[in-house]
């Protein structure tokens, strides 16, 4: 999940919610989609919180 960009994951979430709101799927499948979706949301929230404060002036001689 680390490789996928924020936008890709957001889009996946939208698709998942759409499926759940549609309601036309089996209960077990719905539960599995729900679990995956909640896990993605937790992961994204973590990404936002982890952003570190760093305003760095670069050393040109690197």
């Amino acid at each position: 999940m680390e490789k996928k960009s924020f936008e890709t994951l957001m889009k996946e979430l939208e698709d998942m919610v759409g499926k759940l709101e549609n309601g036309d799927i089996e209960l077990e499948k719905a539960l599995s989609i729900y679990k995956k979706g909640i896990s993605i949301i937790e992961n994204l929230n973590k990404k936002l919180v982890d952003a570190k404060k760093q305003i760095t002036e670069v050393e040109k001689n690197e």
Binding site: L13, L48, K60
Partner: protein, 406 residues
């Protein structure tokens, strides 16, 4: 009395004179280009003029390649070179080694020229522009380390997304060579310390101040960048070539900061909304299924499930009865038949016959006598009757017609 000399001799003499004069060996002439002609060879012929006079000029192709602009009639230029005479024509001219376009008019002309050139090459094409990631992991800013630009960018980013990862590559943003420094900054963020978005930024100024952002070197560096480049140059209305090549143009450095970083609050909100929608959808799915289940449970058959068994038991009993009756009937029938057979047997049984008064006649060896021929006068016979045996002797016999035999 003057000596008579030839034309060639005179022209040669004048050429030598020009050659000896230091002043004429390295001059810088300011004027307006006119009658410009470029031959296939690449050599350029034109005149430089001011309000009062004209000067013939020639620039050989070997020097012409050095030009950083395309000479056109009407351009104000400074031309460097030496003055000499072309002996054959007797015309003196400026042999131009290098030229510089001067004045704002010239700058705009150069700008338009380069813009057209690069546009035709495809450097401005939309299809080549890269999409900016929604949430970049880090951003690189190439700008002056002094001044308000970097401060403004930091402030905006910090306001929208506290704790964001920002790197700054300090560079001159005006003056000669600035375009090389900025290009180096882009290269740095591509190769040495990769970021996900690069911003090149400077504040407002005159066309000369902004000129590094119109240079071809910088335009090509932006085009070659694998990382999306955002140009944030000058005032809202200024457009530089860098703006056309960049993947995104921001009207000001602060605007660039707004465009590259999302607002943390709105992103968190978006995630919360999606989370809620998921939970609600899930709850709803479960509720619908529970209701369906309730409906089934509430059906009468579910309330008295025993009923089915009772009904089955009842049915079973009835069937058992029927079977029982049928079996009985069969048994009775058999019974009757049996009794009938028994009576018949009794009647036919020899013992029964005896009861009725019949007897069995046999000789004294026990052989049953069934014919008169089996006995002789005086033979011994036995008679078995109902309650015993009588022994006797044959006294005579007759056949069935009554004819006496003995």
């Amino acid at each position: 009395m003057r000596n008579t000399i030839t034309v060639s001799q005179l022209n040669a003499y004048i050429k030598r004179m020009f050659g000896k004069d230091e002043n004429l060996s390295d001059v810088l002439i300011r004027g307006e280009i006119s009658n410009f002609k470029k031959h296939h060879s690449g050599h350029m012929y034109f005149t430089l003029k001011d309000s009062k006079a004209v000067l013939n000029c020639i620039m050989f192709a070997s020097n012409g390649f050095r030009l950083n602009f395309r000479p056109e009639n009407g351009m104000q230029v400074s031309a460097a070179g030496y003055v000499s005479i072309y002996e054959k024509s007797g015309q003196y001219q400026l042999y131009v080694s290098n030229m510089m376009a001067e004045g704002e008019g010239a700058l705009y002309a150069r700008f338009e020229l380069l813009k057209k050139e690069l546009e035709q090459e495809g450097l401005f094409d939309e299809v080549h522009k890269k999409k900016l990631p929604f949430l970049p992991s880090s951003i690189g800013v190439v700008t002056s380390s002094t001044g308000s630009v970097i401060r403004d960018i930091i402030n905006v980013i910090d306001r929208r997304f506290p704790g964001f990862n920002l790197l700054m590559y300090p560079s001159n943003v005006q003056g000669k060579g600035a375009e090389i420094e900025i290009a180096a900054g882009i290269d740095y963020f591509n190769k040495v310390k990769p970021v996900e978005i690069i911003i090149i930024a400077r504040g407002g100024g005159s066309i000369e101040d902004l000129w590094p952002f119109n240079e071809e070197i910088l335009a090509r560096a932006i085009y070659a960048s694998d990382i999306p480049v955002v140009s944030a140059v000058g005032h809202e209305t200024d457009f530089t070539i860098a703006d056309f090549v960049a993947d995104l143009r921001a009207p000001t450095p602060s605007a660039a900061a707004e465009l590259v970083v999302p607002e943390l609050k709105s992103v968190i909100n978006k995630l919360n909304v999606i989370g809620d929608r998921m939970k609600n959808a899930m709850d709803n799915m479960i509720l619908i299924r529970r209701e369906k289940l309730e409906l089934i449970i509430s059906r009468p058959v579910m309330k008295r499930p025993g009923e089915i068994f009772d009904m089955a038991a009842l049915s079973l009993d009835r069937t058992a009865e029927k079977i029982g009756k049928a079996v009985k009937a069969v048994i009775e029938k058999k019974d009757v038949w049996f009794r009938e057979c028994s009576s018949k047997l009794e009647i036919l049984s020899p013992l029964g016959t005896l009861t009725r008064g019949y007897s069995i006649l046999s000789d004294n060896l026990g052989h049953v006598i069934t014919s008169i021929s089996q006995v002789e006068m005086g033979g011994k016979i036995q008679v078995v009757i109902k309650d015993g045996t009588i022994r006797g002797t044959v006294e005579g016999k007759e056949d069935e017609n009554g004819k006496k035999i003995i």
